[in-house]
Amino acid sequence: MTPAVSPASSRLGSLVVVPAPSVRVRLAQVALGAALSVDGVAAAGQGNRFAGAVTLDGAPLAGVSVIALREGRYELGLALIARPVALHALADRVRERVTVAAGVADLGDRLGPINIVFEDIADPAIVEVA
């Protein structure tokens, strides 16, 4: 992993080395953020059935998995909790949003298939409160 900042020290103090997130982690973050911004998606699921779970700072990113494919591309898995709307159409909207977001983040050429699992439907009462 390439460090974002080279280690160095001076009279003013030392620089902390912060490793830049890998493509895999960046893709997971971008995809999850894009998916959760789609109207009809209530929350991220657990993603317990996923292989390729992504961890960030030692903590797992719930609801997303990234698996490396050939030629530098990655297969995404998104586990989502949806509101009671047409789910297959919602899945298409999520894929579109993720694809656009990956392109904006300069990760478009890394994006492979996007597998979506709807784990549950958000309880309407809970949604209204939230």
């Binding site: 009671p84 789910l87 298939p113 309880d123």
Partner: protein
């Protein structure tokens, strides 16, 4: 109170009227439906169909609650230990690759027409599941386990101290 069951015979296609329900299963997994495309797969957990059926049943006027007496009594306990939620109590689903079958236990309000309310529940459950999940609903079996009388929730005065 005696249990009343209704079965939607007219809603089951001829090839599925053989004894027992026939739901086309894709072996193994718990996910309800799986659509593959070049852009990825879409799959639904069983909890999705269960929750949609429960919400759809509760949308119909005259439905006081879901679940039988035991289920309702145990509802709080089962929810706390992760066996289900208040929302999905009284709902059982069988889900295949393209089809789903639903069993519902209902408590209706006293005074409503049981045939009318159960038919409305059945229609709404089918409409919601098919609209939201894309699955074909082969049958919705409904058991009316109890009637609710206004005042049932308020405990009467105890006869003993």
């Amino acid at each position: 109170m005696a249990e009343q069951s209704t079965t939607p015979e007219q809603k089951v296609e001829p090839e599925r009227t053989a004894p027992g329900r026939q739901v086309t299963r894709r072996g193994g997994g718990s996910q309800a439906d799986l659509l593959r495309s070049e852009r990825g797969t879409t799959s639904l957990g069983n909890a999705v169909v269960t929750k949609v059926a429960a919400i759809a049943a509760r949308e119909i006027g005259g439905v006081h609650d879901l679940g039988g007496g035991v289920a309702r009594a145990m509802g709080g306990v089962s929810g706390r230990v992760g066996m289900g939620t208040e929302t999905t109590r009284g709902v059982s689903v069988e889900v295949g690759s393209r089809q789903a079958a639903v069993d519902l236990s209902l408590v209706l309000e006293y005074g409503v027409s049981v045939p009318e309310v159960t038919e409305a529940v059945r229609d709404n459950v089918i409409k919601r599941i098919e609209g939201i999940t894309g699955l074909e609903v082969t049958e919705v079996n409904i058991s009316v386990n109890d009637l609710y009388f206004p005042g049932d929730d308020t405990g009467g005065e105890s006869r003993v101290e």
